[in-house]
Amino acid sequence: MNAFELALPDTLAGAVSLLDPEDPTIRVMSGGTALMLMMKTDVFHPTQLISLRRIEPGYSQMGLLPDGSFRIGAMSTLSDMEHDDALAGFAPVIRQTMKLLSNVRVRNVATVGGALAHGDPHMDLPPVLVALDAQVVTISPEGERTIPVAELHAGYYETILSGNELIKEVIIPPQHARRASYLKCTTRAVKDWPALGVALTTDLDGDTARDTRLVIGAVGEKPIRVAEAEAVIDGQILSDKTIAEAADAAAESVETIEDELGSAAYKTQLVRVYVKRALQQVANQNA
C-alpha cells in the first residue's frame, strides 16, 4: 500500500474545500468499507483521504422533518438506520433491507452517504431509496442542490456528483399508506452482494395499485426503474394474471449484464421470478 495523507476536517464544508475536482486521488472516506477494499485490491491509490469522522454530529442524526418527510444525515451508519424506531415506523422496508445487507460489522461503520456515492451496482440500499422516491441534498463550492436518488447514478461505479460535491443528507418523502417490499437474491452464498435486488413501493387503494415504483438493482450498471412493468400494474388489481404480466414485462425490458454472479439469461429469469414474488408479497401485506 502506498503512502497517503489523512485529513480530519471538523466540518463538512471544510471537507469540501479540501477536494480538488481535477484530482481523483483525493477522496472523502466515511465508513471506509468500500474504499479499503478498493485500496487492498490495488484498484484505488489515494494521495489524500479526507475522513468525515469528525464533521458536525448533525450529519450522523436522523428524524422526521416538520413537513412529514424523513431526513437521514449522510454520516448515519447502516446500523443507525436499522435500529432507528422512527425510521422503522416511517418506512419499515429499510429495517427489513438492513437485515439482508452484509453483516453487522460492515453495517456498524458503513454510512448511507458512502452507500449512495460508491456507485457499485451490487448494492441493496440504492434501489430501495429509489423506490421510496428519496432525494439527496449535496454540498459543493457552488452551494447546495437536491438530486433524486433515481438520478444520482450514471453508470458502473459512476454518479453525477462532481469531484468536489458531497452528499449531506437523504430526504425520504412521506410514505402515507404506501406498501413496500425489497427482495434480495444472492447466487454464490446466502450472504453476498446481491445478484439481484427488487425494490417495490405502491399505493394500494382498495385493491387497485397506483403510482407504483418498481426498481431493479444489481443486474445492470445502476438501479433500473421499470416503467414497462409499472404501466402493467398501475390501475389494476394485483391479480395473479396482472402479476405474471408485470413480471414478464420486467424480464423483457430490463437489460441484464453477465458477471461472476450469473449469466444475463439467468438474471433475466431471476428478474421474472423475484418481481412476481415482490408483487405477491405486497398484495398480501396487511395494509
Binding site: 447466487t187 454464490r188 446466502v190 461472476e260 450469473g262 439469461a265 439467468y266 429469469q269
Partner: protein
C-alpha cells in the same frame, strides 16, 4: 503412575483441546506474528504471463528505491543453491523462475527491505521482458498439445527414475492398474455398458493464515520458523538444495492457522532460506490472501468412467481414465494420481478393472494435496455414475449398491483383500439414517425436495514413518517430542491422551513439544489422515519404552516391583535430588506393506488401513431459480476407536463443510491463467448460513492394528458430500449436474435443457 490419584480414562474421552484457551485469547504462537531483530521483509514479484521465456529482468529501479536492501532473481539463488529446483517427487520447481515462467503468479524476483511497504512498492518497479509461448490450461488439451510446460521431466525420488529424460509430453506421471482378466473382453460380454464423463474444478485451501516463513541465519547454520505441515521434509529438502548436512538446518513449527494440505512440502521455505543466506539477515515472507490463490490449489480433473454389467445388474467390468490438472509443477500431484487412482473404481466388487490416472502439467498454479487427496473428485465421478446406472436399470440405488458392494474378505481392485466389513456397514447406516425406502416429503408448488447418498473408500498412504520420544520426569510429568503438526485437527490433544493412557497419568501431565527438528525426531508429514495411526503408535511405543525404563530405574534403586515408591523418590534416590529423566523412544512403520506392481498396481498388502465414509443429503430446490438448499447432511464414518469423540465429530463435520463449500459455492476462476476471484470477497467459502443441519454417525468397532484401535479421520467427511448432493438434486428434480459448483444457475439450466427449452448461452 503409582503416585496418581485415580483418573478418568485418557483414551476415549472428549478431553478439551489443550490449545483452545490460548487460541481464543490470542496468545498462541503463529509465525505470522514473529519478528526478529534486524529482520528484512520479502515481497515477491510474480509473473503476469502464463508461459514465456524470460528475455531480461530489470531490477535496477527497484534496487535503487530508498529503503530497499536487495533484489534477488533466479540467477542469484544459484549462487547458494547450485541446482535451485525443489519438489517432493520431481525436482522441477525453481526457487525463482530461471529461463522460463510457467504460470501467472510464478515468483520471478524478490525484494528485501526493512519495511514491508517499501518492499511492496519496489516490487512494482521491476520490469521483465517476456517472449511469450503458447500456454495450455486444460488437462485434456495438455494431453495432445504441441506446447510443453517442461522440456524434459525431472524425476527426483528413486521410484520414478524411469521417467528420467522423457521429453515432449505434458504427462507428468502415468499410473495404471489392471485387475482380473481382459477388461475389453468383459465389456464385449456385458449385457449393458454405461459410460460417463465428469469434471471437477480447481478450488483453494484458503487457510485463514496464508503461508508464512521466517529464515534466520545462525552462525554455522540456518533456522526456519515456518507454517508447514512437514517440518522433517523441509529440513531434508533445504539441506539437499544447499548441499549442507541436515543437522545444520533447524525447522521450527508452532501452531498453524489451518493447513488442509496447502502447507505441505516446500512452500516459501527454499526462497526465504536462500534470501536470508544471501542477505545474511533474517528474512520473512508472509503471503497475502490473494497470493495464496497463486500458490497452491486442489486438482481439477476430468474423469471418464465406463462400466459393463451383466443381466442381474452386477458390474463385471470397469474402466477409469482420470486426468488431473496438476498445474505447472509436480508437487505431490503424481502421488494424487497414483494414490487416488488406486481406488478410482470405488468400493465395489468388480472382476475386471482397468485404471489409468495421469498427472498433467498445465500453465496453471500448482495443484497439490488437499484434504481427501483426490478422493472427493473420484467419488464425485463414481457415485454419480453408480446412481445414473441404477436409474437407467430401474434398480433402487441402495439395492444396486448392495448387489455390487465390496464385502469383507473380497479382493479390492488393487489385489488387497478387504479386512473389514465397514463398506457394507457405512452403506447400511446411511440408508438407515435417511430412512431410505420410507415415504419422504417431496415438497409442493415451486419447491421440490429430494435425497441422495454416496459411499467412498480411501487407502491410507504407505509406507510412511513416525518417530517419537517420550521423556518421563521426576515430577511425574511426561513430555512427548514428535514432529506432528497441530494445524487445528487436535493432534496434540489426541497424542497426549495416548501417552497418558500408557503411563496412566492425567492428560494434563503430558506436555507436547512442537516440531523442532533439533529436538523432535523424524515424521513423514502431517497429511493423509496418517498422524493418529502412525504417530499414535510411535507415541504409544515410546511411552511404553519410557515406562519400561522407569521400571528399570525402580529396580536399580531398590524399589520392590509393585511397590508404591513415588516417582520423585525414585529419582531422588538415584540423583540425590528429585530431578532427572528416563527417555523412551520409538520408530513406527506399519508392518507388511508390499509395494504395488508398477504395471498392474496389484499388491496383496497395499495399505495399513482403509478409510470408509458415506454421506446422505436432503435438499430443497426452488424450481423457478434452480437454487439448491441443502437441508440436512448425514456423515457416516468408519473411525475405529475414537480417542477423542468430540474431535472426531468436529473433524468429520469440518471436512464435510469444506467439501460442501467446494460443491456448492467455491471455484477458482481463471482468465487466461489469471485468477479472477482471488479474495474472500469473490471466492465464497461457506458461512454459518450456508451450512445445513449436520449429523455425524460413527461405526462401532476398533481398527485391528490401530493404536488403541484408532485410525485417522481427518478426511473421511469430505469423501461423499458432492455426489450425495448431486444424487439428491436428481431425486428432487430429475436432472443430473456433471459439473460443480452446483449453483442455482447450473441446476436451472439443466432443468431447462431437460424440458427441451434450454436457456440461452452467453
Amino acid at each position: 503412575m503409582n503416585d496418581q490419584i485415580t483418573q478418568i480414562r485418557a483414551v476415549g474421552q472428549s478431553h478439551p483441546r489443550r490449545e483452545a484457551r490460548e487460541k481464543v485469547t490470542g496468545r498462541i504462537e503463529y509465525i505470522h506474528n514473529l519478528r526478529l531483530p534486524n529482520m528484512l521483509y520479502g515481497k515477491i514479484f510474480r509473473s503476469t504471463v502464463a508461459h514465456a521465456r524470460i528475455v531480461s529482468i530489470d531490477t535496477s529501479e527497484a534496487a535503487a528505491c530508498p529503503g530497499v536492501d536487495m533484489v534477488l532473481t533466479g540467477e542469484d539463488i544459484r549462487k547458494i543453491m547450485p541446482d535451485p529446483h525443489f519438489g517432493v517427487m520431481f525436482h522441477d520447481q525453481p526457487v525463482l523462475a530461471l529461463d522460463k515462467v510457467r504460470y501467472v503468479g510464478e515468483p520471478v524476483a524478490i525484494v528485501l527491505a526493512s519495511d514491508p511497504n517499501v518492499a511492496a512498492e519496489a516490487v512494482a518497479l521491476i520490469d521483465v521482458d517476456y517472449d511469450e509461448l503458447e500456454p495450455v490450461f486444460d488437462e485434456m488439451e495438455a494431453l495432445s498439445a504441441e506446447t510443453f510446460v517442461h522440456d524434459e521431466l525431472k524425476p527426483g525420488i528413486p521410484e520414478i527414475q524411469f521417467l528420467k529424460g522423457v521429453r515432449d509430453t505434458n504427462v507428468g506421471f502415468p499410473y495404471q492398474l489392471r485387475h482380473g482378466g481382459d477388461v475389453d473382453k468383459a465389456f464385449e460380454e456385458a449385457d449393458r455398458v454405461f459410460e460417463h464423463t465428469f469434471r471437477t474444478h480447481p478450488s483453494a485451501h484458503v487457510p485463514l493464515e496464508p503461508p508464512v516463513t521466517v529464515a534466520e541465519p545462525t552462525g554455522a547454520g540456518l533456522t526456519l520458523h515456518t507454517a508447514n505441515q512437514s517440518p522433517s521434509f523441509v529440513r531434508y529438502e533445504i539441506s539437499r538444495l544447499l548441499g549442507w548436512p541436515q543437522h545444520k538446518i533447524r525447522v521450527r513449527v508452532p501452531y498453524l492457522g489451518g493447513g488442509f494440505g496447502a502447507k505441505l512440502w516446500i512452500r516459501l521455505e527454499a526462497l526465504v532460506a536462500a534470501a536470508a543466506l544471501l542477505a545474511k539477515r533474517p528474512v520473512k515472507v508472509s503471503l497475502s490472501m490473494e497470493e495464496q490463490f497463486y500458490t497452491i490449489t486442489k486438482h481439477g480433473a476430468t474423469l471418464k468412467i465406463k462400466s459393463g454389467l451383466d443381466k442381474d445388474g452386477r458390474i463385471t467390468a470397469r474402466k477409469c481414465e482420470v486426468f488431473w490438472n496438476g498445474g505447472a509443477y509436480a508437487d505431490i500431484g503424481p502421488a494424487v494420481a497414483f494414490h487416488a487412482g488406486m481406488t478410482a473404481a470405488g468400493p465395489y466388487d468388480i472382476e475386471n478393472v482397468a485404471i489409468d490416472s495421469f498427472s498433467m502439467y498445465t500453465n496453471r498454479p500448482v495443484a497439490g494435496a488437499m484434504r481427501g487427496f483426490g478422493h472427493p473428485q473420484l467419488i464425485w465421478a463414481y457415485e454419480n455414475h453408480t446412481d445414473m446406472m441404477a436409474h437407467e436399470l430401474g434398480i433402487d440405488p441402495l439395492e444396486f449398491r448392495r448387489r455390487n458392494i465390496l464385502r469383507e474378505g473380497k479382493e479390492h481392485a488393487t489385489g488387497t483383500a478387504l479386512n473389514t466389513s465397514s463398506v457394507e456397514k457405512v452403506l447400511d447406516r446411511v440408508a438407515e439414517r435417511l430412512q431410505w425406502g420410507k415415504p419422504f416429503e417431496r415438497g409442493e408448488g415451486t419447491v421440490k425436495r429430494g435425497r441422495g447418498f454416496a459411499i467412498g473408500i480411501k487407502a491410507s498412504i504407505a509406507p510412511s514413518t513416525s518417530e517419537a520420544i517420550v521423556r518421563l520426569g521426576a515430577d511425574g510429568s511426561a513430555t512427548l517430542m514428535c514432529s506432528s503438526v497441530d494445524m487445528g485437527q487436535g493432534s496434540d490433544t489426541a497424542h497426549a491422551q495416548i501417552v497418558a493412557e500408557v503411563l496412566n497419568m492425567p492428560v494434563e501431565m503430558v506436555h507436547v513439544v512442537h516440531p523442532d527438528t533439533d529436538v523432535t525426531p523424524y515424521d513423514t508429514g502431517t497429511l493423509g489422515s496418517r498422524s493418529l495411526y502412525h504417530m499414535g503408535h510411535a507415541a504409544r511405543l515410546a511411552a511404553e519404552d519410557a515406562k519400561a525404563k522407569l521400571e528399570e530405574l525402580a529396580a536399580e534403586v531398590g524399589a520392590q516391583p509393585g511397590s508404591n515408591v513415588p516417582i520423585w523418590e525414585l529419582f531422588a534416590r538415584k540423583n540425590g535430588m528429585p530431578v532427572g529423566h528416563v527417555v523412551g523412544t520409538a520408530s513406527f512403520i506399519p508392518d507388511g506393506h508390499i509395494p504395488p506392481d508398477p504395471m498392474t498396481g496389484q499388491s496383496p498388502h497395499i495399505t495399513p488401513y482403509w478409510m470408509l465414509g458415506a454421506t446422505g443429503a436432503e435438499v430443497e430446490i426452488d424450481t423457478e431459480t434452480g437454487r439448491v438448499t441443502v437441508l440436512r447432511m448425514i456423515n457416516v464414518a468408519d473411525t475405529g476407536t475414537q480417542i477423542n469423540p468430540k474431535i472426531v465429530d468436529h473433524q468429520i463435520s469440518g471436512a464435510s463443510i469444506m467439501q460442501l463449500g467446494q460443491t456448492m459455492q467455491e471455484k477458482v476462476h481463471f482468465d487466461f491463467g489469471q485468477v479472477t476471484n482471488a479474495s474472500f470477497a469473490d471466492y465464497k467459502i461457506p458461512s454459518m448460513l450456508d451450512i445445513p443441519q449436520i449429523e455425524t454417525s460413527v461405526l462401532d468397532g476398533a481398527e485391528a492394528d490401530g493404536p488403541f484401535g484408532a485410525k485417522g479421520v481427518g478426511e473421511t467427511g469430505s469423501f461423499c458430500v458432492s455426489s450425495a448432493i448431486a444424487n439428491a438434486v436428481f431425486d428432487a428434480v430429475g436432472v443430473r449436474v456433471s459439473e460443480m459448483p452446483i449453483t442455482g444457475e447450473t441446476v436451472y439450466r439443466a432443468m431447462r435443457a431437460a424440458a427441451g427449452e434450454p436457456l440461452e448461452e452467453e
